[in-house]
Symmetry: C2
Subunit: 135 residues, 2 copies
DNA sequence: ACGGACCTTAGACTGTGTCTAAAGCGAGAC
DNA sequence: GTCTCGCTTTAGACACAGTCTAAGGTCCGT
């Protein structure tokens, strides 16, 4: 994986109009592959292990750039932090009330009816947000 | 309304185990009747008009107390602020992407199927969060 | 080499929410 | 009527997420 992974990440960034740099690649290699829904400061902590001199501002700038360029989505699902999600397909979220962990729920696992018929609202996107404990 | 409204609020607080004070009543009279989904600092701004000496700490303490006592629900629907909602019945939320305004969507307006059959998740509550523009 | 565009950096700054320590208040006890 | 004790309120300090600024670094094209 290693060498070809980095090349693939560079290509992916370029295809989305993002010039690859060492910092952007290090951030991409973690955040575009995780299923942890990390916050910006969690990304910062992870990336510092691979690239100790990276700055907090660069991590925030890069995550926001990735969102703008369509490489990542940002979600607000709990108090106090935005989380980043490389899963670009529509899906729902389950939040473990005991740990705060966020789990993806496939779009096909649930069905929401009547969205198009809602009076007065022109809905661009929606998701079901579920809370509970793991079974 | 006015005089009997205050009495009703005091009774409501007492029934939920909250000792009524002038500050708590002033906060209750706004936040338990609004449909604006205000943030704590929006509540603070409103309540200061009626009770100019009220402190920010009291507003935060009181809103959290109301949530603990089941008079209010707190929601995190956008970055950077918790909003408070006196509508205790299950319902969904539509967020106007242009203004950030939050609108209630009645539970009966949508139907979510298959929640109970989700593998691995013991769901305690859920809601649909919709974003778009007003029609 | 040089210039210029773009990127990264440290740290200051802002806004939301919590905590602390001291003062205020009010319903009984006397 | 005053005391007292628990509860409430207050101002401001504090903690943390996120943004901004100003300065310096990097990468190319010439
Ligand atoms: Mn952002
Ligand atoms: Mn809270
Ligand atoms: Zn997700
Ligand atoms: Zn609501």
């Amino acid at each position: 994986m290693t060498a070809s992974t980095v090349l693939d990440e560079a290509e992916l960034l370029e295809r989305h109009g993002v010039l690859p740099s060492a910092q952007r690649l290090a951030i991409a290699q973690y955040v575009l592959r995780t299923d942890e829904h990390p916050s910006a400061d969690q990304v910062f902590a992870k990336v510092k292990r691979a690239l100790p001199m990276v700055s907090r501002a660069t991590v925030y700038n890069t995550l926001n750039l990735f969102v703008d360029k369509g490489l990542l989505r940002a979600h607000v699902l709990a108090e106090g932090k935005v989380v980043f999600d490389p899963n670009l397909a529509p899906h729902h979220h389950f939040i473990d009330e005991e740990t705060g962990a966020i789990h993806d729920v496939p779009w096909s696992a649930l069905a929401v009816s009547n969205v198009d018929a809602l009076e007065g609202f022109d809905v661009h996107e929606y998701q079901v947000v579920l809370r509970g404990k793991l079974k």
